[in-house]
Symmetry: C2
Subunit: 231 residues, 2 copies
DNA sequence: AGGCTAATGTCAGCCGCTGACAATTGACAA
DNA sequence: TTGTCAATTGTCAGCGGCTGACATTAGCCT
């Protein structure tokens, strides 16, 4: 008899999981080496030795596979936000949620693909027009969810009070910007994006002041690797 | 002999212009009646009685034709911003630019397509995932341009001082939000979106205050047609 | 072992899009 | 006017993403 302990379920289930993982990895590997556009679905399928049709049974589109990991990461942020203590102000809570999420997200990614592969994929997303477009749409879908979450925390009605949506919109705008800058920079590490995030979020308040000429110059933003990453 | 006065240039040029206009209108008409996805490029070409290949010689993609008018509108905003007096603070200048642009944009649109057709197209864009994605990407491309413009106004270096990009990001976030809400609402008029814009921009400052519970409740946001549109 | 069902492969076909080449049609000069 | 040149268009073939339909394979369960 077989003493195999089904690590999660039946053989069928495990096989499916392995196929999905293999497709995901092969896709990201090809995307990051040849580029997204220059990679055909047939290539991905061939690399895993399944038919093209099978690829589309696991991922609804070529785009979807590119965002599989990203989707997980976003889930982490939402979870982190949900766990912020109620006394924190909206922007404070969002800020803390991102920063704390960046600290624990490495583990979660590693279970699916090498972290370094994910980082490279993110850069591909940011630099491929078609993917960037989808990325942005996904982002605003998340914005809506977060706005509702914030409204709930504050005991407000998202549709009656504009402040939750406005705050989240402003916050997400900054987040996107850091993502972009990070993608363009050279330091493709989790620490780098975390530091970048922290530094730019600190400017959200000051940037909205009416008069920029009166005050003293703000701290210079970190261009790329900010030596020791902010503690 | 023919006394035809070439309204703009040679016959060839006029013919090209007419074909382009016809394709544009036919496309938007079909998009707004059947939906974007359910409209094929062949249908558009057939409606104008040209080959599919010809369509692609005028528009690089099916998406591009959907954004033709939008592109013009964006140009207007940038022009308006360029003309704002230098003493206005960044957010003030952007705010005034949008509002003044909305006032003159009607004319410009009318020269190409019926305004009402443009408005319906905007709603199609906002409600079609594929188009929404592209719309967002185009938006952030414009953000980058505006950030540089603002930085120039203020005599700053976009890459050294984070405030221009941050302010523009926050501003654009709010703008996108109003566009979305407008698309969902029922009043598909230029006045409606102008009023919506004005109302929400007024909340940009207050929304970023740290404590939302201390202060008194803010004015209720206009859900849709806000009666008389703000002067 | 054998039946059941889920997963996969195969095939045909639509749609967006492109390159190549031929046919058409303005533009312009002789 | 006519003929030449160049721009515009049509036609055709083909690639890549994606889907429905149907046959085939392979895990599951009695």
């Amino acid at each position: 008899m077989t003493v195999e302990q089904p690590s999660s379920a039946g053989l069928r289930e495990r096989k499916k999981q392995r196929t999905r993982d293999a497709l995901l990895r092969a896709a990201l590997e090809l995307f990051t080496t040849q580029g997204y556009e220059r990679t055909t679905v047939d290539e991905i399928a061939d690399a895993v030795d399944v038919s093209q049709r099978t690829f589309f049974r696991y991922f609804a589109s070529k785009e979807e596979v590119a965002f599989a990991v990203q989707q997980m990461v976003e889930g982490h942020f939402v979870d982190a936000l949900r766990q912020r203590p109620g006394h924190e102000a909206p922007l404070e809570a969002m800020r803390n949620a991102v920063l704390s999420a960046w600290d624990t997200i490495g583990e979660a990614i590693r279970e699916v693909v090498p972290v370094e592969l994910y980082l490279r994929t993110f850069q591909v997303i940011e630099s491929t027009p078609a993917l960037l477009a989808v990325h942005l749409r996904r982002s605003i879908e998340m914005e809506e969810n977060i706005a509702r979450l914030i409204a709930e925390r504050e005991g407000l009605d998202v549709d009656a009070d504009p402040r939750p949506r406005v705050a989240v919109a402003a916050f997400s705008g900054v987040m996107r910007m850091t993502g972009q800058l990070w993608g363009r920079g050279e330091d493709a590490s989790l620490e780098a994006i975390r530091a970048l995030t922290e530094a730019y979020l600190d400017h959200l308040g000051p940037a909205l002041a009416t008069d920029w000429r009166g005050g003293e110059a703000p701290a210079r933003a970190p261009r790329r690797t900010p030596g020791a990453h902010a503690e």
